[in-house]
């Protein structure tokens, strides 16, 4: 038939677009991890004493922990002493005070990635924090945000300038003892984004962080903390890319969200870390812990993710629904191609009364990749009248890839209602023949069909990024049809 499985398998082969390396002078630590390294890191960042103590405590706990092996992924053992835990572009002063002081090479890098940091060329209505390797290099739109009372800065700045807020919330949603990678991150996190939206404020623009790994043999351990105070609203987006390198690189981030009474946080991710080459060589190990706490009543946290990159992804953005009537949402598109492996999903932990959660997961596997959805929906005894709806769809392209679904449901409250739907489908020969019979290129046909499959998730993304996500799928799928 028009596009046979074999041909489909060939339709995913474009070069990774963001694979360039920026030639910039960096200060990079020697590989290895010990107390001294952590102290040096903390010192470089001029952190207060409490922060260093916090890090060291996490480090000691981490030393006692084992790397998890339950995920449906396989990768060579990571030597944590072969990784450098800090790399930052060299510059005269400690921190650039304005965009004019940012190294022009860096600005060019972000321009190349389509993320203009100059406010005059800004993405319409989006404030950007750019994190390059271990440090935040620029944050745009600080002033209009400050006028609204919104704090949007790098976490390093927040630790220095807003210690009360950081101390009050850091590690409350994801404690350092939570899991191996969260422990490691707590010890060595280098930078990331901090957001605080005060009571009753609707953040006047989209906030976004753009993460870029540049240096070789360096791990990226960013830490993001977002607090939405009572009755506030914020929409936040993160994007990620990395150069093409033959060695695997580790990215172990922690993201914590806190929504107080009547507050809403919308968190979107477009993850496009370097996935490795067609033979499965190189690529980012993306081991991320993301969790949001709906602390207050009527609060809402919504995760939307489009995951197309990374060699191995291990990621479960979750919601703890503590406040009564709080709402958790998880919308996910995970695409794997070639030899990529993804084990991703969510956890919805219902504690409060009448809490509700929605999970829409779309997994797309092509090439020889493996794509697993893993989800936990848990109702604690107090979750009277709570409900969950889960829809889990897998789409296979070709016949050498795999899709797996691991849904777990635990209910300790009889009044809780769970609905679960799951489907697995293929891009069928008949669909491909129909498209081609109408004059459409096979590649365009696959991308159109896949985009259609993801529609329910894409409509949750902020407009500007929905378009980008669609394009990203197209690129990631190239070579999957011949």
């Amino acid at each position: 038939m028009a596009t046979t499985d074999q041909e489909v398998n060939e339709l995913i082969k474009r070069e990774y677009e963001h694979g360039f390396v920026t030639d910039i002078e960096s200060d990079t630590f020697e590989p290895g991890l010990n107390e001294d390294v952590i102290a040096r890191l903390s010192g470089l960042k001029k952190e207060p004493e409490w922060m260093l103590k916090w890090r060291l405590k996490a480090y000691h706990r981490w030393l006692e922990m084992d790397e998890p092996d339950w995920a449906h992924v396989g990768y060579p053992k990571i030597d944590y002493n072969a990784i450098s835990y800090y790399s930052a572009p060299k510059r005269k002063e400690d921190m650039p005070q304005s965009l004019d002081e940012v190294d022009p090479e860096l600005l060019k890098t972000y321009e190349k990635l389509g993320i203009p940091l100059h406010e005059r060329e800004k993405l319409a209505g989006v404030a950007v924090d750019a994190v390059f390797d271990s440090v935040s290099v620029a944050t745009t739109f600080k002033e209009p945000l400050a006028k609204a009372g919104v704090i949007f800065c790098s976490i390093s700045e927040a630790i220095r300038d807003y210690p009360e807020l950081v101390q009050k919330y850091l590690g409350t949603v994801v404690p350092h003892s939570d899991n191996f990678f969260a422990g490691l991150n707590s010890a060595v996190f280098s930078d990331g984004t901090f957001v605080y939206v005060p009571k009753g404020v609707r953040c006047p623009m989209e906030l976004s962080t753009y993460f870029r790994i540049n240096a070789a043999n360096t791990g990226q351990f960013e830490r993001t903390l977002i607090i939405a105070d009572e009755g506030s609203y914020v929409s936040y987006l993160e994007g990620c890319t990395a150069p093409m390198r033959d060695e695997n690189q580790l990215h172990a981030a922690v993201v914590e969200l806190v929504a107080l009474d009547d507050a809403q946080i919308k968190y979107s991710t477009v993850q496009n870390w370097y996935p490795g080459d067609e033979e499965g060589k190189g690529g980012i190990f993306n081991f991320v812990t993301k969790r949001g706490a709906c602390q207050g009543k009527n609060s809402k946290i919504s995760w939307t993710q489009v995951e197309t990159g990374s060699a191995v992804t291990w990621k479960y953005p979750s919601c703890i629904l503590k406040g009564d009537n709080s709402v958790g949402e998880f919308y996910s598109v995970a695409l794997t191609n070639n030899f990529q492996q993804a084990d991703t999903g969510t956890k919805m932990i219902h504690l409060g009364k009448n809490t509700s959660s929605t999970i829409i997961s779309k997994g797309i596997s092509a090439g020889r990749s493996s794509n697993a959805y893993r989800g936990l929906v848990k109702f604690q005894p107090g979750a009277e009248g709570a409900r969950n709806f889960t829809q889990c769809d897998s789409l296979l392209i070709g016949d050498r890839c795999g899709a797996h679904t691991f849904p777990y449901i635990e209910s300790k409250n009889k009044s809780a209602i769970v609905e679960h739907e799951a489907t697995t489908s293929k891009v069928s020969d008949e669909q491909m023949f129909l498209c081609r019979q109408r004059g459409i290129d096979p590649e365009q046909a696959v991308s159109m069909i896949v985009n259609g499959f993801c529609k329910e998730v894409f409509k949750e993304l902020p407009m500007e990024f929905a378009v980008e996500a669609g394009k990203l799928l197209e690129v990631s799928l190239e070579g999957s049809v011949g």
Partner: protein, 254 residues
């Protein structure tokens, strides 16, 4: 326009088409009738380039060019259109987006500028009215949840938008109510023109009251065993396929 010579094709090593010969000129309408399983859809699919079928011998030319050398999408861009007997669904892809992508692929091939969303929307709405499909069908997924008759009208909608040189209609009249049959026939008659040929597969001579063919062929056992004019269809209706030496129980029953 289309010339088929001694065409043999098989699927999974089973020969279905056993030497088809057919000449179709621009402006002509040909009807193909024949018992279930005789190879009518196979012929249609082979012409459109469905690779599930293997052409084992014979030749097919479109305006002198070897059609069998072309990929499915290239044939489509050269003007071959197939209205499917069983149109498939593409969930989540809006009909509008699908149609515009197809129309623009053809335009690009002809070196014309692509149509933008607004222009296309206007055109699509007009044509959907022509086949009596509410414009709301443009927003729905391709054939997603369409009734049998709606799918058939959607096929004609596509033919009208794509303006092919050769339209192959595989049982586009099956499963239509009387009003829909009228709508679809009107659509097909609108397609009729000096520089376009139509090949339609049907089981019902009543369609031929609406769309009067220039030729009628009977396909049985993978061969065209009889050809004639409009009157052949009437004869078939009266006598069944038996008088042509074909078993009656295989006769059209859907």
């Amino acid at each position: 326009m289309l010339s088929i010579k001694n065409l043999h094709a098989s699927v999974e090593d089973k020969e279905i088409l056993k030497g088809i010969n057919l000449e179709i000129k621009a402006g002509e309408v040909h009807a193909i009738m024949g018992p279930n399983g005789s190879g009518k859809s196979t012929l249609s699919q082979v012409l459109a380039g469905n690779e599930a079928f293997e052409v084992t011998s014979g030749e097919v030319t479109l305006n002198g060019e070897n059609l069998l050398d072309l990929e499915t999408e290239e044939r489509a861009r050269e003007g071959i259109f197939l209205a499917f007997q069983y149109p498939v669904e593409i969930p989540g892809v809006s009909n509008l987006q699908f149609l515009r992508t197809a129309v623009n692929a053809m335009r690009q091939h002809r070196g014309e500028e692509e149509m933008n969303a607004a222009e296309f929307m206007k055109l699509a709405r007009e044509v959907s009215k022509q086949v009596d499909l509410d414009p709301s069908f443009l927003k729905r997924g391709v054939n997603e949840g369409f009734s049998g008759g709606e799918k058939k009208r959607n096929e004609i909608l596509q033919a009208l938008l794509l303006q092919p040189k050769l339209a192959i209609l595989d049982e586009t009249d099956s499963g239509l109510d009387i009003d829909a049959l009228k709508v679809v026939s009107d659509g097909v008659n609108a397609l009729r023109s000096e520089d376009r040929a139509i090949l339609m597969v049907t089981h019902y001579q009543r369609l031929l009251n609406h769309i009067v063919p220039d030729y009628v062929h009977v396909l049985a056992g993978g061969r065209i065993i009889k050809s004639g004019g409009r009157e052949l269809a009437l004869e078939l209706e009266e006598k069944g396929y038996g008088w042509l030496g074909i078993k009656d129980e295989e006769e059209a029953s859907n």
